[in-house]
């Protein structure tokens, strides 16, 4: 504080000097306002950080487990997931995609709805036919295996299911599951699969609906033509490059539908953009409330300094300079509180962003929505910049009303107060 005081004292601008010193004329009052701004900003930023962290976790999980960054489908496939709507010559397409330096990995999948049954019960599921080695590079289901392995045995007719499905179907490792579905010609077909691995992601909804088998085996059962797939999943080097990469690939493969993760799962995009909007609204409401507190304080200040203001207007300070003087003081009040609030938020976000906040006690409901049970608050530089701009704006706007009151004074009368 002493360093700041010394630096401000050495400044050439009398207005800044005066504003800074005026703040400390009534230490208690200014401290209360500064604390209010600090706590308000910290509260807003911390809650937004937690919210944003949860959403980013959810998006990350979704991208890692299934969606990846980009997916390519037959244009008719997404409407009803009918097995006949295929992508042809997948090897050629994958080769072209991989040639792009922005692409990290590519996998192809066969997908169909079907029924997974045991002696105990039957459950409707999405059967994902994957090429394990390629899929490992794109999604991280292999990393979520809690029992067994992700097709490591090399044996035929193996299935990887979630803990949730295992519980529903009352199966364990090496148990058999009968999977039935319609083939390419619409005939009912199926096969028996032995459970090789059990996984668990943070999204219980996903877990309850998805099981994985080898693509080659599923293709055979579906009687699909050679070299086809329902889905090509692309993982990019940089997640932020999704949009231009989608555009490029769409031009490359105009006969197919190329979509980014935000189009594949609009809920992810909605939640993600909603969080940014929430920051704006949340902080806006907080700043509005703090703005009123600052206005109130500054009105008291103006009332107390009637004589002083009368004198400076009498000796020749014009309206613009009076506004500037009051604005500096108001903004400085907001900035000091804002800086402290942001500092505390940075420390909070840094610490808990690393360590995480465990909410497993109440996380069961969250998991069904795809949220993690450990929250990692996240705030980006742009969020802080947005808040800094809001603090400055609040300071400037909050100074208007007190300035108007000050300018209404008649210097001759004010001096006599």
């Amino acid at each position: 504080m002493n360093v700041i005081r010394r630096k401000i004292n050495n400044l050439n601008s009398i207005n800044i000097k005066m504003a800074w010193r005026n703040i400390w004329r009534n230490k208690l009052r200014s401290s209360v306002v500064i604390m209010a701004v600090t706590v308000g900003l910290f509260g807003g930023l911390a809650s937004t950080g937690i919210m944003k962290g949860m959403v980013m976790d959810m998006v990350q999980n979704a991208l890692e487990n299934q969606t990846s960054h980009i997916q390519i489908h037959n244009k008719k496939f997404p409407a009803n997931n009918d097995v006949v709507f295929l992508i042809d010559s997948t090897r050629k397409i994958i080769k072209e995609i991989v040639a792009d330096p922005g692409v990290k990995a590519v996998s192809q999948r066969t997908k169909t709805f079907g029924m997974a049954s045991t002696a105990a019960t039957g459950v409707g599921v999405m059967i994902n036919g994957v090429e394990p080695e390629a899929e490992k590079k794109v999604t991280k289901i292999y990393d979520k295996i809690t029992e067994g392995s992700y097709f490591d045995s090399g044996r035929k007719n193996r299935v990887v299911i979630s803990e949730k499905l295992a519980k529903k179907l009352n199966v364990h490792l090496k148990s058999k599951i009968v999977v039935t579905f319609q083939d390419y010609d619409g005939n009912l077909t199926g096969a028996s699969f032995k459970v090789e691995g059990i996984y668990k992601t943070q999204n219980t909804m996903f877990d309850g609906q998805n099981l994985f088998v080898r693509k080659a085996e599923l293709d055979q059962l579906l009687d699909l033509p050679q070299g086809t797939a329902h889905e090509i999943a692309v993982l990019l080097e940089d997640y932020n490059e999704t949009s231009p990469a989608v555009e490029k690939m769409q031009q490359q493969f105009p006969e197919y539908l190329v979509e980014g993760w935000y189009d594949i799962d609009p809920y992810l995009r909605l939640t993600s953009s909603l969080t940014d909007f929430m920051l704006f609204i949340f902080m806006g409401v907080i700043m509005l409330a703090l703005g009123f507190a600052i206005v109130n304080t500054m009105l008291m200040v103006i009332l107390e300094r009637t004589k002083e203001l009368g004198m400076i207007m009498a000796i020749g300070m014009n309206r613009y300079k009076v506004f500037k003087m009051i604005m500096y003081e108001t903004t400085m009040l907001a900035i000091v509180g804002g800086a402290l609030g942001i500092l505390v938020s940075v420390v909070f976000t840094w610490y808990y962003g690393k360590e995480g906040i465990d909410i497993s006690m109440v996380a069961k409901g969250f998991a069904s929505l795809g949220y993690s049970s450990v929250m990692h608050p996240v705030l980006e530089l742009s969020d802080y910049m947005e808040v800094i701009a809001m603090v400055m704006l609040t300071g400037i706007v909050a100074s208007i009303f007190p300035t108007v009151r000050a300018l209404k004074m008649k210097p001759a009368e004010a001096i006599r107060e």
């Binding site: 009398i14 010193r21 004589k307 002083e308 004198m311 009498a314 000796i315 020749g316 014009n318 001759a412």
Partner: protein
Amino acid sequence: MKKVIETRNLHKIYTETEVEVRAVNGIDLSFEEGEFAAIVGPSGCGKTTLLNLLGGLDSPTSGSVIIDGTDISKFSSRKMIDFRLNNIGFVFQAYNLIPVLTARENAEFIMHLQNKTKAERKARIDELFRAIGIEGKEDVRPGRLSGGQQQRVAVARALASKPRFILADEPTANLDSKATGELLDIMRRLNEEENATFVFATHDQRVIERAKRVVYLEDGKVIKDEIKN
């Protein structure tokens, strides 16, 4: 001697209360460059109102205030503020220094408003502080100065911008005899050395004794205008 201030049939009538108050009631008066004049009279005679009209802090009901040939009563408020900044120095009864600024910063405050450079400010304030005799107290805030010292800083502030004239409203009212004597000595010296025009509104006998000219007011009218030899 050149006329600096002139009033023509100046009136100021207050009608805010039920009773109409004619604070200034048809005053024709002029002050020349380098004058050291006192406007005196009992409380409520219109001294401060006249001073406010001369300084452009208030506007007349009728009549005009002419400074260097220009009728300032017709100025817009914006032009009036600029005019005050560059032409008029004010000294107030209660010193009215800014408590968060040091003596030097207070004195040079008006030069900041005039956008003077740091070097210009330093040269002028050094010169004035030597003249008012408060060297060594430059970095002290008003709260730690005596009343006399604060009023001396206020005089330095009024003179810092090299105004056409200085209006002082009861500048000695809060000072003891010693401080009053010292302050008046300083003002007389600055009046002579800088040819600064001083117009006081006062009922302090000590000021009246030192003034070169005394204008007596009663009920808003000049009843006597005495020029001392």
